[in-house]
Amino acid sequence: MTDQPSNPLRDEIQKAISENSVLLFMKGTPEQPACGFSARTVAMLQSLSQPFAAINVLPDQRIRQELSALSNWPTIPQLFIDGELVGGCDIVTEMYESGELQEALGLESEPAEPRAPEPAVAPAQPLSIENRL
């Protein structure tokens, strides 16, 4: 028994984080980012040919509230790798430039030849996760 009210949205967010090895919470979509920080983070992942799942936080203010409560991180975007918050645009940029991001993603730090895009796994409906290269 629990006296916590059930929180389906937070459960869905947690589920998305655990089921997608690379997951970006962003403003807008990879095709149409609605914020410069989200756009830059998408561009870095795309430049590494890294498949990732993305969740747009804009359609419902509660997504962002629940996400920040869960991750203890106030801003968007938020990049999760293997269920762990890696950071927002600033940290991802630093890690990209130092090669740590490539390492965290299990990529060669010097992108050799473009890798064949792997189909990313993601059940989609409730949070409209989009899988994009």
Binding site: F37, P74, T75, L85
Partner: protein, 81 residues
């Protein structure tokens, strides 16, 4: 009759700098910004041994719910020192 006016409530780089330096022990901060979007470069001995995430959280924690609201965007670089 005199109209009361509210003071300017927008944040300033100087305010952010002072609050970071007051809250994080031994920190020195350089903050730039336009009143809504800010960039802070913070060095502090307190960052030593912490992950980047943890270092940035220390800075965000200075402002709590103001980040994303009154402080629309706060870009951070941290340096242990």
């Amino acid at each position: 009759m005199r109209l009361a006016t509210l003071g300017d409530v927008s944040a300033t780089p100087e305010e952010l700098k002072q609050r970071i330096e007051a809250e994080i022990s031994g920190a020195s901060a350089e903050v730039t910004g336009d009143g809504h979007h800010f960039n802070a470069v913070v060095s502090a001995p307190a960052f030593e041994g912490l992950s980047r995430i943890a270092q940035h959280r220390l800075v965000y924690d200075v402002f709590g719910a103001e980040v994303g609201d009154r402080i629309h965007a706060l870009s951070i670089q941290t340096k242990p020192e």
